[in-house]
Amino acid sequence: MTAKIGQSALRPDIARFARGEGNYVSDIPAPDALWIALARSSVAHAELISINVDAARRVPGVRGVFTGRDLAGTTPQSSLWDLPGQNHTHLRALAEDRLRYAGQPYAAVAAETREAAVQAAALITSDNRPLETVGSIDESLTGDTLLYPEWKSNAVAKQHWEFGDVTGALTQSHLVVAERFMSGRVHPMSLEPRSVLVRPEPDGSLTIWTSTQSIHQVRASVAECLGLPEHRLRVIAPDVGGSFGMKACAYGEETLLAFIALKLNRPVRWIETRREAFIGSTHGRDHRFDLETGFDADGRITAMRGEVILDKGADAFGVSIGTAWISGAVITSVYHVPAIDISASGLVTNKTPTGAYRGFGQPEAAFAIERTLDIAANRLGIDAAEIRRRNFVPSYALPYTTPTGLVLDSGDYTGLLDLTLSRFGYTDRTRAAKSRAMGDIRTGVGFACYSEVTNFGPSALCKAIGVANAGFDVATIRMEPSGHVRLFTSQTPMGQGIETVLAQICADELTVPVEDVAVVHGDTLSASYTGYASGGSRGAGVGGASAALVSRKLADQIRRWGALVLKADPAEVELIQGGVQVVDDPVRRCSMAAIAGEAYFPSTVPEGLEPGLEARAVFEPSSLAISYGVVAVEIEVDLALGTVRVKDVVFGHDCGVQINPKIVEGQIIGGVAQAIGASLFETIEFDDAMLPVTTSLHDYFLPLAADIPTINLVHQTTPTPFSPLGVKGVGESGVIGTPAAIANAVQHALEGSGLLLTLPLTPERVLKANDTLR
């Protein structure tokens, strides 16, 4: 099958999944492996005085019990994001002298069966001296109780952007909207829990199978923590059952299992339970954004002053305050803002750490700015679409550097807004909504714009903003002697279909059927080093670019070998329909197999070539690419119960060139579904003692099919000039603008009520805003 860029080539892995042949870490047979179970803190904050493991050791089948003391000789896990002046937690996989959140592991059991390991872990107890808990951003700010006394405060790091005379501009503004926008704590909730299997190999090396997005980060982390050389570590990500950013960084369990495997010289495995996933995998969002935005009488933004604070939870590992950093950096979105004063910071609290989650600070920022624009439009008596048109960065000004230093690369913001709203029937629906009141049911219509930072990221930018790894991507390619192609990538499939996208790119460049390209992924043995694997919406734009570049290099070799076979001048031949032929002379043609046969067993080797067909290429993005879009929704709210149903979504977007439109569509629709969950149902709650109360899917309400309406897409295509294929990322698009759009629509339905400023829009919050809660 030909599968050019822009065609929806089928994903072969779906057929495999549909046969039950998914291969997740927990499916990998290891009958000789010991099972690991963890003892986790049942208190939020305490000094850890001693740990009692005797009873656990006596459980039949237990082969080892480990505590923080055993790990004392290892190096603490470092942070992927390290801003100037950042405080570090220096934590290891098991707590040592202090417990800082309920759920923090402090001991591990290795046993012959899972039952024995679990039973033994349940028998481990600790003697603690309770400490005051820090449960909120406000409590953390006071500094009365410090999680890390040596820091002298609870702040992990801070970032500040300043441009223009904000005070002056705000003073002279016709209207200032100043509100506090809260994006609640949610769980990324991949359906496959995390899982790790470590096997000591006969040659002294270790193989680690783990459910991760980032095989090289895991390798680097285990190598650093345990002082192991990287060429003795092989990290494999088999099928990954969803990750959504939650599996973007290395976790302590990978290091811990490698440590135990080496100590006991046995394979060891751990499969996270769902309860553990709720407390032990990183949470998302939990941002508070105080935003003050000035407007002139025509609704043009004059200035912004804002402070975003992330509740980081108890450990700054992984992405540190990255989500707050991005939130601050994208607050001006696709709008022209003449003056800004924005700060971003993250504070530690006695909760499960927050980390990367699809959207990564951008939904939080979009919620603040898009709610602000609706509030301003309402107060100024300007249409919500018109106020945005007046503030968009015009197309002629692109590329445009925002006051926080991001470059808006390409697009037509007004064009897409108008197209989407017209497809949605915005004007008619807005008018009709009011007349549709039935009993307690009201209809609301709203929309929000968004921008999405994609193709992360230029290495120089990474360095400048404190990200510890470079952002280039390496691809290698080999045409086998049979004329079939293998592409080796460091991108990680986790359901997004990147392997199909890459195969399509290669097939297109080499003019071969897509079945003739096999993509090898998820293995540090075959993949070149990548600082970031898949994440930051970079798979297609950055990983795809290196795949294109390497295919072009290979194509050049193929052309020259083909010319040799055809006895033609290399300048006269071209790759076409899976072979090489003389331009305009289809009779003089040879197949890939014939070319590969010659290249692997040559009579003569052309000047500058070597036997065989292999190439390597690096793509270093010169700039980010900013995707953007408009989400229009219609909702129904029950004024008496406060419940909200999303009835209709029209999603307009521009992610540049689409390689596989069905995959793009899947990314957006899936993202919108997650955003509906985070907007209406999903919230992680703690009690007064900072013990997590949401530890089960009985109480964490993932959206079900009936909660998601049919989502219709509107496509606009503006290639980015910063990627050889013109491709921008799309993986996070669905989640960014949707919460703000839903809130705008609910606010529309609750005309005249108090402002909706906190996500999720639980029935209780909706009723409160409507002043009907007695």
Partner: protein, 171 residues
């Protein structure tokens, strides 16, 4: 310890096993029968990832004891292709991109089969009915839309004539 042999049919094959009757079916499938296509999502009966069919009715295999499937006919994803409708549903899922990470996919396919075989439903091609039925299984990736489209597609292609009745009732 109750020592007794369990008898049941698994993917068309007669099984005799001496695993403990209080063992969870999902553990039996994955550990004893080597059928790892049935995935575990929550282990508490909520997400539906581990769904299987017992006598053509879906069941959470994490809320089912081996003793409870005695003398029943069990279908897991590995046996789906052996059902007349299996390949049709599998093909529709592929064509509609009705999976992303694949973790819920085995359950979704089995729920789809149960739905298409359910004689109490008047119009299998009604998307609202399909949507409601899918409440049995959580999907975190797709937003359900392509899954609904795939099932709808199969339902439409099965003209509701006698031939399709036959197709449905033939195991």
């Amino acid at each position: 310890m109750t020592a007794r042999v369990q008898h049941f049919e698994l993917n068309g094959q007669r099984i005799e096993c001496d695993a403990h009757p209080s063992k969870l079916v999902v553990d039996y499938l994955r550990e004893d029968a080597g059928l790892t296509g049935t995935n575990i999502g929550c282990g508490e009966g909520v997400c539906g990832t581990c769904s299987i069919l017992v006598d053509n009715c879906s069941a959470r295999s994490c809320l089912l004891l081996l003793g409870q499937i005695e003398e029943t006919s069990v279908l897991t994803i590995e046996g789906l292709a052996g059902h007349t409708l299996g390949p049709v549903i599998q093909d529709a899922f592929s064509r509609h991109f009705a999976a992303q990470c694949g973790y819920c996919t085995p359950a979704m396919l089995l729920i789809a089969l149960e739905y298409l075989l359910d004689g109490t439903i008047e119009n299998h091609a009604d998307k609202t009915v399909i949507r409601d039925r899918l409440a049995s299984v959580m999907c975190r990736c797709t937003g359900y839309q392509p899954i609904i489209d795939a099932i709808h597609d199969v339902a439409k292609s099965l003209a509701l004539g006698p031939a399709s009745q036959k197709l449905r009732t033939t195991p």
